[in-house]
Symmetry: C2
Subunit: 264 residues, 2 copies
């Protein structure tokens, strides 16, 4: 069921630097087949190699074509990218749906490709007519012109995403620390309660239940992991080192009307 990746077809690209940047964008997301239709400054192109940096294998393997028809001759399904509405019968897809359709056809062993137009004019209507569907990007209409390498990057990125099990899959993973078991949170709460009690934190005494509720909530809400709780236990233990020999005079006598700290 694993088919080939799409060919990237650049129609009359103008700047070698851009071809190199396209190669980089392709390499970033695992594409390797670059087809060039009549590049303005000829081929091979040193600036393209320089701009490709470590993606020079894509440049070295690029094929050169005199016409678009030649460049797409062996493909079964081709998308054309454009920023402008065209007056034709083509379906218009966003990059997600376009990539999904490419993936589906790739799975059926169809040969697939994506056409990108010249930096300055994009694709002509008669070129778009060769494609099966149009892809357009959800850009800000006031600033719609995507650089050609950026357009390739977005399609290559969406193509890569079609190969992920889910959009949540990442190249590496964060620590898989679930929130600690509840008794671990509770032992921190208990430790804090004891440490605070001997320091006279709970005053007036009548408010202790409410103050404990708050403390419990503050320490529960973050969903602390076990390693994080260990850090916090260490911090509390350190702060608790110099406990008074005798608990402070319990609040609720002289200072019973005072809320919170006594100020000493």
């Amino acid at each position: 069921m694993e088919g080939a990746s799409p060919a990237i077809i650049l129609v009359e690209p103008q700047l070698g630097e851009n071809i190199g940047m396209v190669a980089r964008a392709m390499a970033n997301f695992g594409l390797s087949e670059l087809r060039l239709v009549n590049p303005r400054d000829g081929w091979p192109n040193e600036k393209a190699v320089a701009a490709a940096s470590r993606a020079d294998h894509v440049i070295a393997a690029a094929s050169l074509h005199a016409t678009l028809d030649e460049a797409v001759a062996d493909l079964n399904y081709v998308l054309a990218t454009t920023a402008r509405a065209r007056d034709n019968f083509k379906p218009v897809l966003g990059p997600v749906d376009g990539s999904a359709e490419l993936k589906r056809r790739s799975g059926l062993k169809q040969k697939i490709g994506i056409m990108f137009g010249r930096e300055r004019f994009g694709l002509y209507n008669e070129e778009i007519a060769r494609a099966d569907a149009i892809v357009t990007f959800p850009v800000n209409p006031d600033y719609a012109s995507l650089n050609i390498a950026q357009a390739v990057l977005l399609m290559a990125y969406e193509w890569m995403k079609t190969g992920l099990e889910s959009a949540s899959q990442t190249a590496f993973e964060g620590p898989d620390f679930p929130p600690a078991e509840r008794h671990q949170v509770q032992s921190l709460v208990d430790r804090l309660e004891r440490a605070l009690d001997v320091r006279g934190y709970f005053r007036p005494r009548s408010k202790k239940p409410k103050l404990m509720d708050n403390l419990q909530a503050v320490l529960t809400r973050p969903g602390f992991t076990e390693p994080e709780l260990k850090v916090l236990h260490g911090v509390v233990a350190s702060l608790d080192l110099y406990a008074p020999k005798e608990p402070r005079r319990p609040a609720g006598h002289a200072a019973d009307t005072t809320d919170g700290e006594t100020g000493d």
Copy 2:
């Protein structure tokens, strides 16, 4: 429920050209708040303005900060982008989930931002420690280094997508021509049947039902729209202009054993 867009924070960016390209990527997807932490070549930077092209409003409004802490001081929730796994307690998100979380918090009126590191080294661990979560891109592991403007582009693109009703929404739409009503397809099939009949296409006569089944299938499968059927009607009408006065001698007599065309 509509909150602000994320600030883009570049930490010690090196090349003015890249800052300009970042501004373009932001403008493409409707972001406008750029914060620069200690750019290597100083600020303002002419190369940044030149590379920004028509996105110079983003450059003009960029704010300059001496430290990362200053640059993120007013933000409630910050993502850090990185291509490498880090040994810390941060959750790691893909760009889709990261953008969804930004959107959720934006809707709650939280101020949000995304940090990007230096071109050469990315972000240091103590910088990432300032962030609430890590975002990493699903790149090809053999060619993982994304240009800073490309990384900004992908996050800006995913942010833009969170504002779409669905991933299928496009900036412009294809013709909303549903497949034609079935009787319209049928009238083309009927017209073709008559035109072919007088030319003796259906031979041997006994195979006509099978040949008609095939023709019906070929003309039904594409789901032609009404305008497309009009084109095809015109084509058939034109080809049918010079019909024989008398239908050709029906197959099934002398030529009954020959399949298909007779060759004249």
